[in-house]
């Protein structure tokens, strides 16, 4: 834990949450994206519209859901629709400002893998697979990705492209006619990477407090580009930390269950 009293995961979640502008319509994956989106809703972005792929639209959970379709998501939603509807009318319908995804592997063009490590037919690790991610990545107007930064995750070549980012860079995403503009930031526990405006290669544009550029470079399997004007992420405020920890504490109590 850094000496100033917050963990790297907390910094990552806070940095991700800050990327969400108030009022944005967010299609949120489970795990870190869900934590960040709910933190945003509970701090600077109270009017953010959260949508989970279970068909819960405008949901306002008091604790983080363990699954994508926990009961509280339905109870606190403005509308609950079927799966064909959420994917056709809402995601494909072009109504999502921000898709928010996690990943097991990511490459330099922000393509992600959540399917297999190793060969598809003889995988060393069989991951859960695509879920809603390919179409979230393709159809949301903008995509954020959050995952922990290390060489097993930030790889030179994906074993499987589950969800398209900037494909092979440059204008290759537009050429493949993915509707949205793709990932605009990758938020890790070390810093923030954004695609180069022209090549679309992920570039380190911010490091979190106490993190060296070298550490981020070493945690990346490809030669990581670093922005000339490198920022240092603002550390979490007291409020951000308090709200996040309170959220996790409430969540832990709620998920203890009764088994």
């Amino acid at each position: 834990m850094p000496e100033n009293g917050y963990t790297a995961d907390e910094m990552m979640t806070v940095a991700a949450a800050r990327m969400i502008r108030n009022g944005a319509v967010c299609f949120v994956g489970i795990g870190l994206p869900s934590a960040a989106a709910n933190l945003a809703r509970l701090t600077h972005a109270p009017d953010t519209i959260l949508i989970y792929e279970s068909g819960t639209i405008g949901t306002k959970p008091s604790v983080l859901p363990l699954s994508i379709g926990d009961g509280e998501l339905a109870e606190t939603a403005d509308a609950v629709v079927s799966l064909p509807e959420i994917f056709a009318y809402w995601l494909q319908g072009g109504r999502i400002d921000l898709g928010f995804l996690g990943a097991a592997q990511i490459d330099r063009f922000a393509n992600i893998n959540t399917t297999v490590i190793g060969d598809y037919y003889k995988p060393s690790t069989r991951l859960p697979g695509a879920g809603g991610a390919p179409e979230i990545a393709a159809s949301s107007k903008e995509v954020l990705i959050t995952l922990r930064h290390n060489k097993r995750a930030f790889v030179n070549k994906l074993d499987f492209v589950t969800s398209g980012g900037h494909m092979e860079g440059g204008d290759s995403r537009e050429k493949m006619r993915l509707p949205g503009k793709g990932p605009t930031a990758v938020i890790t526990d070390l810093g923030i990477l954004t695609p180069d405006p022209v090549t679309r290669e992920l570039t380190l544009t911010s490091v979190h407090p106490g993190i060296s550029v070298q550490k981020a470079v070493e945690a990346t399997a490809w030669p990581l580009k670093v922005a000339p004007q490198l920022h240092t992420t603002e550390p979490p405020t007291e409020t951000e930390l308090a709200v996040l920890r309170d959220l996790y504490a409430r969540t832990a109590r709620a998920h203890a269950g009764d088994a």
Partner: protein
């Protein structure tokens, strides 16, 4: 109503997962099932580990919020207890395929599978051109299970079924199937369904059975919450073949119904 070799869909998207019915399939020792389910979840981990399945069509196979489905992984990675053929989709494609099945169309279309490797490994993902704009769109064949099984909150005595909350793909899965089975939390005199509720009229439902708590450890909105603790415990129960086998033998194969299963779990917890 489920036979060896059938194409079977047990649906319920995180909610109302028909665990009781799934256990009954395990107890009956069904074999060579082609299982279909968007999110395999624990129930398919159990069916696969118990050797009921030879194929799985799915779009997200994990223990939600916890991690891997170890029995699914063991079947895919090691072929245990038998090799498992996998047909893999994204949620949007499976939702469109079920909707096409419910509509008795041969295929569904979506602006999907763009920029993903999935079509390289799944020949059931094709692309067609819009006859008006020329845009290339993905096409998936309709899902038409031999049997669909879902769990719902209520049925009335005539067999009309009401469900609410996260309704997922359940209605489509029933309407797409040749036969269907619905377990419910309770059978009531009157459904008192709100306007435009998700109701399956009795004449599209093959059989209705009351199984209180039949979605445990998933949840039934208005009846009981998701048992997140069990989902977490499953990670260790299922991680090794031996621990899985002793669990399934003791709690599922060693009991005669879902009440027996839950009683057996309770006894294990009390004596632990």
């Amino acid at each position: 109503m489920v036979r060896d070799g059938d194409v079977v869909a047990l649906e319920g998207f995180t909610h109302l997962i028909p665990f009781a019915a799934g256990h009954e399939i395990i107890r009956q020792g069904r074999r060579n099932l082609s299982l279909i389910r968007m999110t395999p979840d624990l129930i398919y981990d159990q069916l696969i580990g118990a050797g009921c399945a030879s194929k799985l069509t799915f779009s997200w196979g994990g223990n939600p919020g916890v991690g891997s489905l170890h029995r699914l992984r063991d079947a895919v990675e090691q072929g245990w207890p038998q090799p498992l053929l996998v047909e893999e989709h994204a949620h949007a494609g499976m939702a469109a395929a079920y909707a096409a099945g419910a509509a008795h169309l041969p295929f569904g279309i979506l602006r999907g599978y763009l920029g993903t490797d999935l079509p390289k490994y799944n020949s059931n993902i094709k692309f067609i051109d819009c006859p008006f704009t020329g845009e290339r769109l993905a096409a998936v064949p309709a899902i038409r299970p031999d049997v669909t099984v879902v769990h719902a909150q209520k049925a009335d005595r005539r067999g009309n079924v009401l469900m609410w909350g996260v309704v997922g793909i359940q209605k489509e899965a029933v309407l797409a199937a040749r036969r269907s089975i619905v377990t419910v939390e309770e059978i009531v005199d009157r459904l008192d369904a709100p306007p435009n509720a998700v109701v399956l009229p009795s004449w599209v439902v093959g059989a209705v059975a009351e199984v209180r708590g039949g979605a445990f450890p998933s949840y039934a909105q208005g009846y009981y919450p998701r048992n997140n603790a069990f989902y977490k415990q499953w990670d260790s129960i299922s991680r090794e073949r031996e621990s899985f086998q002793s669990w399934i033998e003791r709690h599922v194969l060693g009991t005669s119904d879902f009440d027996g299963f839950k009683q057996s779990l309770l006894e294990a917890a009390t004596h632990a």
